[in-house]
Subunit: 150 residues, 2 copies
């Protein structure tokens, strides 16, 4: 499972750039699959988990749907529908914003904070387990990824 070539049964790539695109797509799938395995018992998708963490980061200050959208990892996602799902599970509250009735104030509930808390034990070692790199290598990779996107 180590090399990319083996994992997707491809003998060689046109050039290193081509391999890197494929490598990033494949590694993403590897990561999300691992994340899913942890989140599944909690009945959360990775994106729902992401939204909950954004809300927790507000420390009690309400935020809007569009603000959540801006902070999401996938800008093409749909915060409105994700908020709906999380509200159905009572992990967040929606309140009409008094100063601008187009907006909706979103707040994480106690139940939402609790589920994040329960997850923390499982997430604690996740990052270092799923990423088989030294801290130095991780820092190099972060810098390269930031540069990659220009």
């Amino acid at each position: 499972m180590g090399s990319l070539e083996e994992a997707i049964k491809q003998k060689e790539f046109k050039d290193p750039y081509n391999k890197l695109v494929v490598n990033l797509l494949y590694t993403h799938s590897y990561l999300v699959t691992a994340q899913n395995n942890i989140l599944k018992p909690f009945d959360l998708s990775p994106e729902q988990y992401n939204v909950l963490r954004i809300l927790r980061g507000q420390n009690g200050v309400p935020t809007t749907v569009s603000s959540i959208q801006d902070r999401m990892l996938n800008k093409m996602s749909n915060a409105s529908r994700l908020v709906d799902k999380l509200k159905a599970k009572e992990l967040l509250e929606r309140r009409e914003c008094p100063s601008d009735r187009r907006q909706v104030d979103i707040l994480i509930t106690e139940k939402g904070l609790q589920i994040l808390n329960d997850l923390q034990v499982h997430m604690e070692g996740f990052n270092t387990q799923v990423i088989n790199l030294s801290e130095e290598e991780v820092i190099i990779m972060n810098d390269l990824l930031d540069k990659l996107r220009g």
Copy 2:
């Protein structure tokens, strides 16, 4: 748009490992969005494009649905339904396999090869444009990604 922190409005991360997970998820979204912009005029999704390239790599030798599945970047994808979509567009053919009637032989059509050929001009510069790194950095990153997955 450079730094991850700015892109997702997050001040800091718990540790470099945590940042790397988020960085990979965010960079994936950046890549796929760029890929989509090229593929959209050709009415192909990134996964459909991936399946077509796998078929072209066969050089005329038929392959099966499960073999396509094995080579896909996302192992949890559904090759059966993707093959259906591509057949509807007449970009591939399905033939009952004579030696094993459970299997289906899949072959890319002339039309499928033509669409890949038309795409090549647009994909030519894509990799180097979307990846703002030197070739040395790209090679380092490929090695780190291969190591990351263990």
